[in-house]
């Protein structure tokens, strides 16, 4: 009954006209930010932060949070329509979403992305509401050793990102690993591969790389081919998913939501990582994995659910402990502190209206987003009719703005352009950028976790097996590898028997 009263209290705060208005404004801006390639929630929250100082604390958090989870709805739009991710977290949606668009199923892909995001977002808020403290406590048990084991497991899944040649995928992953090492090594202070550019101390930057490989690279390759776009125009088809799509997507959405939520609680770019992991998991458990990369709707539903659930999960360490795990939540923490609100265990005691007001506004926000995004599908789909000659300069413009908006750095624009050419070359030679990005994100943390673990254990390698969580994860990884080898051996034997 106590939590019921809290919910009522929360809704009484969230349903005031002012908070409703700012909630709508936040999710609307978030959707736009998500759609526009390059510009992300972190940049726009930073931009709008000063304007929220004059608002009451709850309202400020409501609008800023709305931008955060709203951007995960819009990110898939350009991924599906033009193979360019609106958000780094929507890279994986390009793989199958764009193929669906080429087959005339753009409306269904967009619809499923929106609905999956809604289900996952709402489920995520619900889990946040009922399970925040125990989940936060569980997340604390993840130290460097556990991260090493977890990332090891995730990297094994990398093999499932490959839709054609496995060797090429691993080559890309190796390149991603090398690129990820650029910058100052936190453990030894050694500066790697910056070639004198101080701007590269913290690495090349995920946004320029993703926007370059997928945004600029895609534009370049399309300009080269006289692209037959009539296919799209003729077969827009249904604007919403049909029964079969639902049957196929139901389980991926549930799996993606749970996966995304728990990965989002952990430190790091939870939305991106969870979307990749969800994609590889769906491909692994699917009855027809060869469909992936050719327009399997599970490849859209799962990852889109995952990245939305991850944003809900990211609120847990922020609200329960006052610990931010992503750039955007760090900004939200700043907003809370400027308003004199202390996140953490005292939040529920001292400012229950803030906590419950924000949580209930997230329910409202997700509903708003569903009703905002579904009708927009008809408009987005018309975008496909715009001649590419007009479209691509706009795309490039937004990529440039997005690359600059991150850190006000002209060098990052150059990085993006460089990776644009790299992306073009990759596509010409049949390599896929996705494993590169996955490795780029994970490998630096993997290395750092390994070395931190050894520092903590004073050089004792058995720390990975002495600690329960990491031991379990390594065993799971071992089982996984063995079962994959086993099943591929079985398949070979079967083929030999037949042939």
């Amino acid at each position: 009954m106590d939590s019921f009263q809290s919910i009522i209290q929360g809704f009484s705060v969230a349903l005031t006209p002012m908070n409703l208005f700012f909630c709508f404004l936040g999710v609307f801006i978030g959707t736009l930010i998500g759609v526009l390639p390059g510009i992300g929630p972190a940049g726009s929250v930073a931009l709008l932060l000063p304007f929220t100082f004059s608002l009451p604390a709850v309202t400020a958090i409501i609008i800023l949070a709305g931008i955060f989870y709203g951007s995960m709805y819009g990110g898939s739009t350009t991924s599906i329509l033009v193979n360019i991710p609106g958000e780094a977290a929507s890279v994986v949606t390009c793989l199958d979403g764009y193929q669906m668009a080429r087959q005339g199923r753009a409306g269904r892909a967009l619809g499923m992305a929106a609905i999956a995001s809604f289900i996952a977002g709402t489920l995520g808020v619900f889990l946040l509401q009922v399970m925040a403290p125990p989940v936060a406590q569980l997340a604390l048990n993840f130290g460097p050793a556990e991260f090493f084991a977890l990332i090891f497991f995730a990297l094994i899944l990398l093999a499932y990102l490959a839709s054609s040649s496995m060797i090429k995928a691993f080559a890309m992953a190796a390149v991603g690993m090398v690129i990820g090492s650029v910058g100052i090594d936190g453990v030894s202070g050694v500066i790697r591969f910056t070639f004198g550019f101080n701007e590269f101390y913290d690495g090349l930057g995920i946004v320029p790389i993703v926007m370059g490989l997928y945004g600029v690279g895609e534009v370049l390759i399309n300009l080269e081919q006289t692209f037959q776009r009539q296919i799209f125009q003729a077969q827009i088809g249904r604007l919403l998913p049909d029964k079969e799509d639902w049957k196929a997507s139901a389980k991926p959405i549930i799996r993606g939501s749970l996966l995304g939520f728990f990965i989002g609680v952990l430190p790091g770019p939870g939305a991106i990582i969870s979307s990749f992991v969800s994609y590889t998991v769906e491909k692994r458990v699917s009855q027809h994995p060869e469909e992936f990369g050719k327009g399997a709707i599970e490849g859209v539903a799962g990852p889109e659910a995952a990245n939305n659930a991850a944003t809900a999960g990211a609120f847990i360490p922020l609200l329960t402990f006052g610990i931010p795990t992503t750039a955007t939540t760090a900004l939200l923490l700043g907003a809370l502190r400027i308003h004199g609100i202390i996140p953490g265990p005292l939040l529920l005691e001292n400012n229950p209206d803030v906590f419950w007001g924000v949580v209930t506004s997230m329910y409202i926000g997700n509903i708003m987003l569903l009703f905002l995004n579904l009708p927009l599908i008809g408009i987005w789909v018309k975008l496909l009719r715009v001649p590419y000659g007009t479209l691509f300069p706009l795309i490039l413009l937004f990529c440039l703005i997005g690359a600059y908006a991150g850190n006000n750095s002209l060098l990052e624009i150059n990085v993006m352009i460089f990776f644009g050419f790299v992306g073009y070359l990759l596509r010409k030679t049949g390599f896929e950028p996705a494993p590169l990005i996955f490795a780029y994100i994970l490998c630096p943390t993997w290395e750092e976790s390994f070395r931190q673990s050894l520092l903590i254990s004073s050089g004792d390698l058995t720390i990975f097996f002495k600690r329960p969580i990491s031991a379990v994860l390594f065993s799971l990884a071992g089982v996984f590898i063995l079962s994959s080898i086993f099943s591929s051996m079985k398949r070979k034997k079967l083929l030999e028997k037949i042939g």
């Binding site: 048990n141 130290g143 453990v187 202070g189 701007e199 101390y201 700043g334 953490g344 006000n408």
Partner: protein, 326 residues
């Protein structure tokens, strides 16, 4: 006129251009600085401790100057990117930025040409001492207990810091020397990733500032077992100082404002007065009070002396810490 539309258009264009230049002339006629918006460079990501102090000040500063003040975040390189940006901007008083002790550590640790002499000091606003934080439930309640434990158990106390060779890491090494103990230094990318590790029991302590972690101290998750200032800090009165225990340790994170070297003296004075007024504002004072920042002001000349002293201190620190610069 209808007969010759091009001429008509041309005349309008000339008139418009003339008006524009005339307007520019009008601005120059007004001598009082500032006459256009000012740029405030913050060398850290938005939302962090240093950034929030700047943002808390922004509005009041703009009011005091009568012009908008735009904050530009230029993070990276441990603050060296932003610092270089400030030092290289035009010394006309329209661009200034925030400085922290990193200006000294960067000079000796990193080849980025960061040097305090490249800046024109405007004002010193406040500080927050370095502290050692442990979990609230940890068994040590005083600095003496903590250091005694560390002495009796060399290599057992794992101390998280914000990065190898960073300001706090170097200070931790100095603390080891002064106290005769040995920590294991666990570096993180910035201090924030160390909070879950500390809370989860993977490390025993972290070295950071009160202001950076004040919300965690207030929230009851962490406690400061010792502070590195010369007197006890009013925000954590129970925490002992190193000086009390006989060690000459005095480290603070400070917030001060500078421009590129060469700003005309009158403009520096105008900026200084504006900062002074902004700091007096109740809202800013309340923010500092709620975030562990102690307000303590110094004027331009005092700041120059202070920076010179600090520079010598850091030079000694880094050479004795034995960490090679890159």
């Amino acid at each position: 006129m209808k007969k010759n539309p091009k001429l008509f258009g041309g005349i309008i264009l000339m008139a418009a251009l003339g008006l524009v230049t005339f307007a520019g002339g009008l601005a120059f006629a007004q001598e009082t600085f500032p006459t256009k918006p000012l740029t405030f460079i913050v060398s850290w990501s938005a939302g962090g401790g240093q950034d929030l102090v700047a943002r808390a000040l922004q509005r009041h500063l703009a009011k005091a100057l009568g012009q908008p003040v735009v904050i530009i975040n230029k993070p990276g390189g441990g603050a060296s990117i932003g610092f270089s940006e400030i030092a290289n901007s035009a010394p006309d008083g329209y661009t200034f930025g925030q400085l922290s002790p990193s200006v000294h550590s960067l000079k000796y640790m990193v080849r980025a040409g960061i040097d305090y002499v490249k800046f024109e000091p405007i004002m010193f606003g406040g500080y927050s001492p370095t502290c050692i934080l442990v979990k609230k439930e940890a068994s040590w309640n005083t600095l003496k207990e903590f250091l005694d434990y560390a002495k009796a158990n060399p290599g057992k106390v794992r101390m998280g810091n914000s990065g190898h060779g960073g300001g706090w890491h170097i200070q931790a090494i100095e603390m080891e020397r002064a106290a005769g103990v040995k920590f294991i230094h666990i570096p993180y990318k910035g201090i924030a990733p160390s909070y879950p590790a500390l809370l989860g029991g993977h490390i025993e302590a972290i070295i950071t500032s009160i202001a950076d972690t004040f919300h965690l101290i207030q929230g009851g998750k962490l406690k400061a077992v010792g502070v590195a200032s010369s007197e006890r800090n009013k925000f954590v009165p129970e925490a002992q100082t190193f000086k009390e225990l006989g060690m000459d340790i005095d480290f603070v994170t400070f917030y001060s404002w500078v421009g590129p070297k060469g700003i005309p003296k009158e403009r520096v004075t105008i900026l200084y007065r504006a900062f002074q007024k902004a700091i007096e504002n109740k809202e800013f004072k309340d923010y500092c009070e709620s975030s562990g920042v102690i307000i303590s002001t110094k004027g331009p000349d005092e700041v120059a002396k202070f920076l010179a002293q600090e520079d010598k201190k850091w030079e000694k620190l880094i050479t004795s810490a034995g960490i090679k610069p890159e």
